[in-house]
């Protein structure tokens, strides 16, 4: 048992957390951006899969990492655009459209895989490329932290960076402003001449971009080949992460960190003599609990604020409030 504890408190564990997080942060941000824009995209699973596949294939056939990256990204964006076309133009229900995209991606990748390699399981017969690992000179020399933070795949750093880029994109660019406006009140956006469909299309395409990076990491970073349905539900967990994080960059990052840690923990204790199903359940149970606790806390805080305000009122007489705004009624709870 002690090697287990040792290993959990080792820097390897921290390193693993970051590695496990990477393919969650990307799609989580991808989901968040669409949710902010009012076009929930639940086809990240499919987007990741397609990019994971095309990255490996293009990489293997051209030998160029750059081309592989481009191909992966382009296919992700194309998936976003296709969903946009179906939903915005043909008015397909977006949830259904996304489910169909996921089905499509699963079938299409395996079919092409078969056509191109004669194999239906994975591209392990191809010599595929991987994104390099990066050792950060200064960081590396810090005792424990260095071991955790340095030496990751370049896409892991890209994932961390993405959260920051996401922040700037959403809060500091015109497109971000438009995305938020469209998500909150499409009529308002329309009234100032914004093409709502176009903004939502961009959001879906950006979501494809993020999803693509997640997929590429899976097949060209985490491992070095594409395997059928290799996303194995990460696109779904990412949605949970984004929701827990309130679609905000820091929140999403923290939620992904939580998932990463819980998952890594489940992986490290997998060899303990507990029924494996129960261990595999841990990350999901943890999410449900986190979701509940988060919601409860929000509600408690609201309650407390009320009580405090009331007490203050009695203590100090009527405060000189500005004309109070109409209180918004929250749907859902009574």
């Amino acid at each position: 048992m002690s090697p287990l504890l040792d290993s959990i408190f080792s820097s390897d564990f921290g390193f693993a957390v970051l590695r496990v997080m990477t393919p969650l942060i990307f799609p989580a941000l991808g989901f968040a951006i669409t949710d902010l824009a009012g076009v929930v995209n639940i086809s990240l699973e499919g987007m990741m899969l397609m990019s994971a596949f095309f990255g490996v294939i293009v990489g293997a056939f051209t030998g160029s990492l750059l081309l592989a990256l481009l191909a992966g990204i382009l296919i992700g964006i194309a998936m976003g655009a296709a969903l946009g076309y179906f939903h915005l133009k043909l008015k397909t229900d977006i949830i259904l459209g996304a489910i169909a995209m996921n089905m499509f991606a699963s079938g299409f990748t395996i079919f092409l895989l078969y056509v191109l390699t004669g194999d239906k399981g994975s591209t392990s017969s191809l010599k595929s490329l991987v994104f390099p690992e990066v050792h950060i000179p200064l960081l590396r020399s810090i005792p424990v932290l260095g071991d955790i933070l340095s030496g990751h795949n370049v896409l892991t750093y890209a994932a961390l960076l993405s959260a920051i880029v996401f922040f700037f994109l959403i809060f500091k660019t015109p497109l971000g402003l438009r995305i938020r406006a469209v998500g909150q009140n499409p009529d308002a956006a329309r009234s100032v001449g914004i093409n709502v469909d176009r903004v939502q299309l961009y959001a879906l395409m950006l979501s494809g971009l993020f999803g693509a990076l997640g997929g590429l990491y899976l097949s060209m970073g985490y491992v070095s080949w594409f395997a059928r349905d290799m996303t194995a539900g990460r696109g779904w967990i990412a949605i949970a992460a984004a929701t827990l994080g309130g679609n905000m960059p820091l929140g999403t990052f923290l939620a992904a960190l939580l998932f990463g840690s819980v998952n890594a923990l489940a992986i490290y204790i997998a060899s303990v003599n507990i029924p494996s199903e129960l261990i595999q359940m841990i990350p999901y149970v943890a999410t449900v609990l986190a979701l509940a606790l988060y919601a409860i806390r929000v509600q408690k805080r609201r309650q407390k604020i009320k009580e405090e305000a009331l007490e203050e009122e009695y203590d100090s007489g009527p405060p000189d409030n500005p004309p109070p705004a109409a209180a918004k009624q929250r749907g859902g709870s009574s």
Partner: protein, 515 residues
């Protein structure tokens, strides 16, 4: 003077087959204020939407500044110099004033980033230029409705609108705010802008418009100089009959106290003290009017009275029975009915049918259902009856409410609440967005309810309405009752203004309010 806008032979049929504009032609002269009036559902908003490029007509042409135009979207219209302030405000409530203002033509820094400072500077600048003060970095949701509307107007002006369309801009404003708005409009006119504006308040039309177009049944009846028409003329043209608009004296008989509140306080989610120690009572056979600038706690007060919110402190009694803590259904069963202030938020389920909307408070009772089974035949008969009695303009009772015009939606709500035969009626903005004919109709219904010995508590932003109907008036400011007017016939709108704006306040109200 030249016509800036020339609309010819517009025909508009909605996808569900409703003909909303039929051969409509209007000419608007540059530098004038042009009013459009007409009953609910006459097709006014539709015409504006056609002009602004929101929806496209089947037939007809539009010329703007001498050129024939064919707008595919509002963007085209904006580009050409048309701005519109919609009947329902179009603002993203989580964004700031400045963000809402520059949305779509954002100032940039280094090519890609939003320039926050420039955004605020621009807001200040345009606000100053047109003397419409707004707080640039406040979120919309934290602003009172009057300010929000100002932001809407600024949005259009910021985009260099030459023609400004205002769809019922005064429906949600206090007299003071309306006053300010009109000053602004006159000033804009002086600057050479043209204003096209819709209102149901004929007094306002007379006050500000140069020309008036009257619509009825999807058609234009006439366009005239405003000076040539009296209010009576206009209303006659609109509905094809005369409408009484005089004050009706209050009957003297008031009975026992039916509704009473004691020390009501409420703190909202944003930790703001919205109501402070509110106490009053309403007697059978009277209408107690509550005047006040919107956003001073009226919304919450009404929700407390109807069980939609629970008070942070204090008690509410109906016939001496405490009702706080009871569910909305229990409250209704005790005999309370409620016309909510925002019909779209609480009053109707807009995708449900007229029929389904008319039974929400009674579907579970006989004769509408038996042992949990809905009796559709009874329900249909019942609703047909209500549609007829309350003059609701709808194709049939299965039409979804969202394809009714604003005023008719309001009538759906009023029909349901009045037909519940309540002991106490809480009426919040009962005639908002309703045409003169219907307004009069609703007013007479409220009086009828009063005369039947019911207690009515009415909240309205329309001071004329408050003065006209109320037996007594309370004024609310910043969550507190600041004035009690036992005899409304002694006061005018101007007298109430200082109380509503918090300039004046009566002391020691406690006992008096319960008179």
């Amino acid at each position: 003077m030249a016509a800036i806008l020339e609309v010819k032979n517009i025909e508009k049929i909605y996808p569900d087959g409703v003909i909303a504009n039929k051969d409509v032609s209007v000419s608007v002269e540059e530098g004038t204020i042009h009013a459009i009036v007409g009953e609910n559902g006459a097709g006014k908003s539709t015409l504006m939407k056609v002009i602004f490029g929101i929806t496209r007509p089947q037939n007809g042409t539009i010329s703007f500044q001498g050129q024939e135009v064919n707008f595919k979207s509002p963007d085209d219209a904006i580009q050409q110099g048309i701005g519109m302030v919609h009947q329902h405000l179009m603002l993203a409530s989580d964004l700031t004033v400045a963000e809402n203002l520059v949305l779509g033509i954002e100032p940039k820094r280094r090519g890609i980033f939003l320039d926050d400072h420039e955004m605020i500077r621009l807001t200040r600048e345009v606000a100053q230029r047109f003397s419409l003060e707004v707080p640039p970095d406040k979120k919309i949701k934290d602003l009172p409705i009057g300010i929000r509307q100002r932001v809407e107007i600024l949005k259009a002006l910021y985009r260099k609108a030459e023609l400004l369309i205002l769809d019922e801009p005064t429906a949600v404003l206090t007299p003071q705010e309306t006053e300010v708005l009109f000053r602004t409009l006159k000033q804009l006119k002086a600057n050479g802008k043209t204003i096209l504006f819709i209102s149901h308040k004929l007094r306002e039309v007379k006050e500000i418009a140069d020309r008036v177009t009257v619509m009825r049944d999807s058609q234009v009846i006439t366009t005239e100089d405003a000076a040539k028409l009296s209010e009576e003329d206009i209303s006659h043209l609109m509905v094809g009959r005369d409408i009484r608009t005089e004050r009706i004296p209050q009957s003297e008989t008031t009975g026992e106290v039916v509704l009473e509140t004691k020390g009501l306080s409420f703190v909202n989610e944003d930790e703001i003290f919205v109501l402070k120690d509110v106490s009053f009572s309403v007697r059978a056979g009277e209408i107690l009017g509550l005047a006040g600038v919107e956003g001073n706690g009226q919304t919450e007060l009404v929700k407390l009275l109807t069980g939609l919110l629970q008070p942070t402190d204090g008690e509410i009694f109906v016939r001496s029975k405490a009702i706080s803590g009871l569910s909305p259904r229990k409250v209704r069963e005790i005999g309370l009915a409620h016309i909510p202030e925002d019909r779209m938020e609480n009053g109707v389920a807009d995708q449900a049918s007229v029929k389904e909307n008319l039974i929400v408070d009674r579907y579970y009772k006989a004769p509408y259902s038996r042992r949990s089974r809905l009796l559709w035949k009874t329900i249909t008969d019942h609703t047909l009856d209500l549609v007829k009695r309350f003059h609701i303009l709808t194709r049939n009772v299965d039409t979804p409410v969202n394809s009714l015009s604003g005023g008719n939606i309001q009538k759906v709500v009023v029909a349901r609440e009045l037909s519940a035969d309540p002991d106490v009626l809480i009426a919040s903005q009962p005639t908002r967005g309703v045409d003169v004919g219907s307004e009069e109709h609703i007013h007479s219904l409220l009086r009828q309810v009063r005369d039947e010995g019911k207690a009515v508590f009415m909240v309205s932003a329309d001071l004329d309405e408050v003065l006209k109907l109320s037996s007594r008036i309370l004024v609310i400011y910043n969550g507190e009752i600041v004035a009690h007017i036992p005899d409304p016939s002694m006061v005018s709108a101007e007298d109430l203004g200082p109380y509503m704006l918090g300039v004046k306040r009566q002391e020691d109200l406690g006992a008096e309010i319960h008179s």
